[in-house]
Point group: C2
């Protein structure tokens, strides 16, 4: 969450929080039948029906409709918040879970679509991933193919079916498309155009295949041009070429997407599904306001990502937010400990002082469990000589420094360890 | 919230989150009748009664009881979370609000009591307050006075009455104490000992008055000694002497406090009440475990603090998390904008690029509304000459720098403005 905040803020997204509880009528009917059924709802003390939000998008749409004139556009907001769904818990799926959304609303510019991909890239890199693919498509391209085949009116069931391609395979998707009243050969043609474009070697070849697939559809041609612009933009911004992949089979299940759509797959854990997904919508808040609010955004699925990170051994088992551990040896010098710890904190170091002069083994067990990188050891001997021992707890190396003015040498030794350098005098 | 996180972490407190929903029986009867009545409760899809937490302490007690053996002691945790109470909203009091708690559990050492005061001090300083008072008392001192007067058995109603002293005045407090069955002259004696000690000029004189007030009570004497140790400790750590004030009339309403108690008042907004309160408890998790879990902690009341900050004009009306605004002038150079923005972000700057090449007045209105301190202006002319204009948006000053390798000069000019220096070449 800290990393998501940092990355979102580095692009100028501001935090906006909305209440967890909304009036029931705001949430009902916005996410489909299943979501309605999963709502945690009850009557408040005034007898009004309220419910816990099931995502961050619907409350944000309500909020944006209410406040957009005051806030002005474009509006770039992020929100990290808990959402609730009364479903059966599974690995990486819980009844109470956290979403990390970011959206730019009030602009149709592809600059915002490009930025969405950049944010996803920076986010996953900052979390520690090197190998992942942002799969990009445009709903306009899919609409174009449908238009070319005269299937516009079946767009909703066809795209919902296509969205399940990776999960259920092509024959099941075909079955589902046909079930919505599409002729088998038309369904076949649609799916072949999508999958044959998808299977091209390079993004450039995918674009060429799509140009053919959309035929004379203007929407489709616009979609292809948009994808080309998004691709060249993310490349210009410096994203490694193999990170972004055009994939015409990416549809996203939600009906409100109208332009670029995004899914993000970890190379080491593709089975976990997309960890960061989103897309462009023409009008997020149509249900709540007459004003047009186009936008684009995506959401990091934190619990799913954590499940993947646990599997990949990327979640350290013991972490303290403090880098410096100060064991408590000598009660005579209690006030000196307090002074030194406050002094180091004033320089931006996070310092944890053990609260009791317990046996060293106790204190070291604590330090070990919490995973501090550095210990500053101050015993009676050190106080007498006006020095401190600085210990690299990961390497087991130790150095002795004088307690000079402003703890200059002490801070230098601590920072050398935190930067991974070996302290000058090793034991 | 960002500041609270930073300060808590600087002392080694780790974040722990618990679910917003708990089984009803975990929460019922823990906060008194009023809290029970205010609970938002309902049956989940499996027919079990659940409720939204009304504070962070009770769920943490449940969590600590369950996991303490695995986590080890001392355990320093912070939690910033939403809580719900179905009460009538007032200024600074809402049905859904945020608490910022920090606690050290598993130690009886006064080092943790001292640290609690240090954290409160650093927190308010970091938020931007200079003038505030941390009022400290010890429940042991109050117990000592009660013991000395033979009133131990009436401790709960007497301390609950005393807690309202600032709000309702002494005669109302006396009435309430008497209503619990205490003889008027005893009630008078108790209140006089407390208030006359409170009204002493210096902390040292308060301690002297308390030594008399607790008579021969051992608990009372221990309380006085503890307060002395806490006071000298916070002084040794460098807190300005007028920030911490002994106040024997501070009782805290909650029954579970047993040692040091804390309240924090802003000099410019005392009427808002305590913005950060807490205390030491002998056994937080007694209801859920047999293991003894003593601890000490406090909670920042974020909504109350914000109400005070709004009143004092401390909340900026428009804020962006980005310091650098890059207006979009020249579509020909779209990719150059992307490259430069990414380049600056890679050096840790937060950069917001306007998504459309709209009229300058539009873009400047956006920048003004959001409150960016710096704009980097890149028009056709600048791209041609290989320079950028860097504008200090607060001072209206502008400087021109070359777009050299790694944007060295550009970053230098931006950082000069962010540090409040005047750029070298003023217009």
């Amino acid at each position: 969450m800290e990393i998501a905040r940092r990355v979102y803020r580095s692009y100028g997204f501001s935090p906006i929080d909305t209440p967890a509880l909304e009036y029931l009528e705001i949430l009902l009917g916005k996410g489909g039948e299943e979501t309605d059924r999963q709502l945690y709802k009850f009557q408040d003390h005034g007898g009004r029906w309220v419910a816990l939000r099931f995502d961050l998008t619907v409350p944000f749409a309500r909020f944006a409709a209410e406040h957009i004139n005051q806030l002005g556009i474009p509006l770039k907001r992020y929100q990290i918040g808990t959402v609730w769904r009364g479903e059966n818990p599974q690995r990486g799926r819980y009844r109470e879970f956290v979403q990390c959304d970011f959206d730019t609303i009030g602009t149709k510019s592809l600059a915002a679509d490009i930025e969405t991909a950049l944010v996803i890239n920076d986010l996953l890199e900052a979390i520690g991933f090197q190998h992942f693919t942002i799969r990009i498509n445009s709903r306009l391209v899919l609409s174009g193919i449908l238009e070319h085949l005269g299937l516009e009116e079946k767009a909703v069931p066809i795209l919902r079916a296509l969205d399940k391609l990776a999960k259920v395979g092509p024959s099941q998707v075909l079955k589902e498309i046909e079930a919505s009243g599409v002729a088998p050969e038309k369904a076949q043609d649609f799916l072949e155009r999508v999958t044959s474009a998808s299977s091209q070697g390079s993004n450039h070849e995918v674009l060429q295949a799509l140009e053919v697939a959309v035929g004379s559809s203007r929407a489709g041609q616009e979609g292809v041009a948009n994808l080309r612009e998004v691709l060249t933009g993310v490349e210009a911004a410096g994203i490694p070429a193999d990170r972004v992949r055009l994939d015409p089979s990416i549809a996203r299940g939600l009906d409100y997407y109208t332009g670029t759509v995004y899914e993000t797959f970890l190379s080491a854990a593709p089975e976990i599904g997309s960890v960061c997904s989103g897309g462009r919508y023409d009008n997020l808040a149509a249900l709540y306001t007459d004003q047009e609010l186009p936008g684009v955004g995506a959401s990091l699925g934190l619990d799913r990502l954590l499940a993947a990170m646990e599997k990949l051994g990327m979640v350290p088992s013991a972490v303290t937010p403090a880098s410096v551990f100060v064991p408590y040896f000598d009660p005579e010098h209690f006030h000196d400990y307090l002074r030194i710890c406050s002094g180091l904190r004033a320089y931006g170091l996070n310092v944890d002082f053990y609260p009791e002069p317990k046996k060293l083994s106790h204190q070291l067990r604590y330090a070990d469990r919490r995973g501090f990188p550095v210990a500053v050891i101050l015993g009676s001997e050190e106080f007498r000589s006006g020095v401190a021992k600085v210990k690299d707890l990961r390497k087991g190396l130790e150095t002795t420094v004088p307690l000079d003015a402003e703890y200059h040498k002490l801070r230098e030794a601590i920072e050398a360890i935190l930067c991974g350098e070996t302290p000058p005098a090793a034991e």
